[in-house]
C-alpha cells in the first residue's frame, strides 16, 4: 500500500513514478500531450477546465478523471488519454467556452485548432474570461498577495478585485496579465504610471494604478514602485536605487 513508487500504463506504455505524482506529470514524462486550459505547473492543481480528462482503469472500473488533479497512489493503473468519449467531451467543452467567449480571439483560435464550429442554438455571452483561475491562483500562490478573487457564483462568477475597486494590496507586478490565456487583464504604462485593469468602457475596473520607478542610471521608467518596495524589503536595501536591466 505504502510503496514509494507505483507503476502504471499510459496508452500502452509503462512508467514508474513517485507516489502522489499527478497523472498529467506522468503523461508529460512519456511525452504524451494532454491538452489543458487551467493547468499551470507552477501553480497548485485546480481541475476546473476538465480539458485534461483521461480514462483511468483502477481495476474494478474505468472512470473519467482530470489528469491534473488525479494523484497516482496505487499500482497497475491503465490510462487511456484519447478515446471517443474524451474527444466528444472536449468538443462540448470547447462549444461551451465558445458560447461564453464568442468573440474572444484566443478562444476562437483554440476552437478552430480543434476543428469545432459553434452551435448556433447556445446562448452567446460575449465574455473574454474563461475562469481558468490562473490569475487568482498566481496572485495568491506565487506573488503571495491575493489582490484578486472571485465574485458571486455560478454563471455570474467573475474575477474581480474586492468590491470591484482599486486594491492597494496589488503590487502591479503584472503576473496575472502574463498568465492569462485569453488576455483579458490589461496592463498599460503611461506618464510613469502602470495600470492593471479589467474590462473596457463603462465596465472598466481598475485594480491598481502604481507609480513607476526610474532607473538610477538612465532615468527610464522600468519597475512599479510597489514591486521595488517588496524587493527592497526582502533584500534590505534602499527601494529608490534600483538600476534597470539594460544599465546593469
Amino acid at each position: 500500500m505504502n510503496a514509494k513508487e507505483h507503476t502504471l500504463t499510459i496508452d500502452g506504455r509503462s512508467i514508474t513514478v513517485k507516489r502522489g505524482t499527478f497523472l498529467i506529470e506522468a503523461c508529460k514524462k512519456l511525452c504524451i500531450e494532454v491538452p489543458t486550459l487551467c493547468h499551470n505547473e507552477n501553480l497548485k492543481p485546480y481541475g476546473v477546465c476538465r480539458f485534461c480528462q483521461v480514462e483511468v482503469n483502477e481495476g474494478k472500473r474505468t472512470r473519467l478523471v482530470p489528469s491534473c488533479v488525479y494523484e497516482i497512489r496505487k499500482d497497475g493503473l491503465t490510462v487511456t488519454t484519447d478515446s471517443e468519449r474524451i474527444r466528444n467531451n472536449r468538443k462540448w467543452l470547447i462549444q461551451l467556452l465558445l458560447a461564453r467567449c464568442d468573440r474572444q480571439k484566443d478562444v476562437l483560435d483554440f476552437a478552430a485548432k480543434h476543428g469545432v464550429a459553434p452551435i448556433e442554438r447556445l446562448t452567446k455571452k460575449n465574455d473574454d474570461c474563461i475562469l481558468c483561475g490562473q490569475c487568482v491562483r498566481a496572485c495568491g500562490e506565487i506573488v503571495g498577495v491575493g489582490a484578486i478573487g472571485y465574485e458571486r457564483r455560478g454563471e455570474k462568477r467573475e474575477v474581480t478585485s474586492p468590491y470591484r475597486d482599486k486594491n492597494p494590496v496589488c503590487i502591479a507586478c503584472g503576473t496575472c496579465v502574463y498568465v492569462c490565456p485569453t488576455h483579458c487583464i490589461a496592463m498599460t504604462e503611461e506618464n510613469g504610471v502602470r495600470t492593471i485593469s479589467r474590462y473596457a468602457g463603462e465596465k472598466k475596473m481598475i485594480v491598481r494604478e502604481a507609480k513607476m520607478l526610474t532607473c538610477g542610471k538612465c532615468g527610464n521608467y522600468f519597475l512599479p514602485s510597489p514591486v521595488a518596495e517588496v524587493f527592497a524589503k526582502k533584500m534590505g536595501i534602499d527601494p529608490t536605487v534600483f538600476t534597470c536591466p539594460s544599465c546593469r
Binding site: V69, Y70, L93, L97, L131
Partner: protein, 615 residues
Amino acid sequence: MTRLASFDDLVKRRGEIAAVRAPNRATLVLGDGTCGRASGSSEVRAALSEAISSLDTEKRLAFRTTGCHGFCQIEPNVQILPDETLYVHVKPENAQSIVEAALSGKVLKNLTFKDGQKKSCAKITDVPFYKRQMRLLSGLNVYVDPLRIEDYIAIDGYQALAKALFTMTPDFVVEEVIKANLRGRGGGGFPAGWKWDSVRKAEGEPKYVVCNADEGDPGAYMDRSLLEGNPHLVIEGMLIGAFAIGSHEGYVYVRNEYPLAVQNLIVALDQAREHGLLGKNILGSGFDFDIRINRGGGAFVCGESSALMQSIEGRPGEPIPKYVHMSERGLYDKPTNLNNVETWANVPFIVNRGADWYRTIGTEGSKGTKIFSLVGNINNTGQVEVPMGISLREIVEGIGGGIPNRRKFKAVQTGGPSGGCLPADCLDVPVDFDQLTKLGSMMGSGGMIVMDEDSCMVDVARYFTNFLTEESCGKCVPCREGVMQLRDILNDITQGRGREGDVELMEDLSKFVIDCSLCALGQSAPNPLLTTIRYFRDEYVAHIHDKKCPARRCTALISLRIDAENCTGCALCKKQCPTVAIAGEKKKTHVIDPEKCIRCGACYEVCKFDAVIKE
C-alpha cells in the same frame, strides 16, 4: 452534581428521572418546532401553560413542548400521552377545554383529526398518516423536550453510547454498522460502515467526524426536525462514530437558516458537556470527544462534502476534486468522516438493538427506515418515516392521502432538485436507493414533491434546472456553462421559442455535463431534465412542435377566453383582472382582450361558472 462519571451513574440518573415522574398522570405534548411555530404554536404554548398552572398542584398535568411531530398539515397539534389522543389545529382558546378533557379522560370530538371519509380519528394510531409509518427516529420527538437532556436520558438515551464505550471495541462497533448495512442518508447512499472503516484505518491524526446538516433542497426538512426535535440522538450517534473511528473532534455544519435547530443544538451540547457525556473522559471511560457548531451561510453547494469542509476551514464553499478520499484527506487534510444528520441518528439504534435487528427492516440492499418530506399537491403534507422498500404509492396515496381537489396524480419528484420526476407507472416500485437510481431518479436526502395534472413537466424541469444554475458555484466549466445552457433552452421552450432538435441537443449536453462535472451538483443537475424527457417526452413535443402547453401552465403558450354560454356576466373576473383586459356590461357576456391579457389566470381562478377557458 449532574456529571455522570460511569455507566452506573447513567443508569442511576435514569432511575431518578423516572422516580419523580408520576406514571399515571397525563402529559400534554405540544409540537413546537419551526413548523409548529409558523402555525401559531407559541400562543398555544402560553395558553396551555396558563391553563395548567391555574390547576391545583396535585392535579397538575405534565406539559412538554417538543420538536416537530411530523404532520405539518395539522399544526399546531397537541398529543395527550399515554392515551395518544391527538388534537389538531389547536387554538389558544382551546387550551382550557383540552386541559379539562385530559383531566377527565374525555375526548374533544371537535378537535380530532377527520380522515378522508370525515371519520373522527381520536387516537394517533387511527390517523392514516401515522398508521402506515414506522417512526423509528422521528417518533422519539414526542417524548423529548429538546432543551431537557433528562427527557432523552429517560427514554434510554445515551444507553447506546455507554454500551459501545464499556462493552464493545471500536472494531466491533464498525463491524456492527457494516453488518447493519447502514447507507448514507444524505443522498449518495454510500455504506456508512465502510466509510468508518477506512477512516479508522487511515493514517494521520487528528481524525474528524462531521455531521452534515446543510439541508438545502427546496421543500426538504427531515434533518431540521431531527436536529431541532431530538439533538441528543444526533450527538449520541456522532459520539459512537467518533469512538469507533478514533476521533476526538467533531463538527456539526448546520445552515444558519435553521435558527431553532442551532439554538437547540447549542443547549443540547452544553447539557451533554455538563453531564459528562461530551468533553474529557466521557462517562469515566477515558474517551474524549467534543463537538463544535459551524453555521453555513446558505449556499446549496455547501452540502457537498468537500465544499462543506472548505467552508469549515474558512474558505469559499466550493467543491474540490477528491480523487484522494475524504477518509484519507478531508478536513484540514486529515482523515475525516462525514455523515448526514439522519445517518448519525440511526447509529444509536443499531448499537442498542444490534445489526441483526436493524437488518430486519428494509430491502435487500437498503436497510432501516427513511424519512421523507412529503410536500406539493398532496392532502397530508408532512414528514414521513417509512421502512425502506415501501412503494411510492403507499406513501403518496396511503400516507399522503392522495391528491387534493379531485385532481389526478402526475409525477413525484424524489431526491430534491437533482433528483428525478417519476410518473404514475413507477408508483408501485419499492422505494430504496437502488430502485430509485434505476428509474433515473435518486433517494437524495429525502425530499418528495408530489405534482398533480396541472403541473407542466417542462416547467418543472426548467424550475429545478434554474435552481441548480443559480446554486452552481461556477468553478468548473460543465456545470457553470452547461447547466446554464440547459436552463436557457428550457426557458425558450416554455416561452414558445423551442426549436426542433432541442430535446436531442439537451440530451447530448446533459450526458456531457454528467460525465465531466467536478462535483455531485453538476453530475446530477440534468436529472430533472432527463427524467422528464424520459417519462413525459410528449409534453416536450407539444411545447416545441405544437407550441402548446398540455397542462396549460406556461403563460406564453396559452390563451384565455370567455365562454358565452356559461358566462353570467357577474363581473367577478373583470374586477380581478390586473391589466383591465376584460370588458362587458353586468349580466352580459364578458370578453377578454388578448392584446391586453397577460394570461395570469386570475379570471380563471375566480370564475364560479367555469366560463373562463384556458387553451
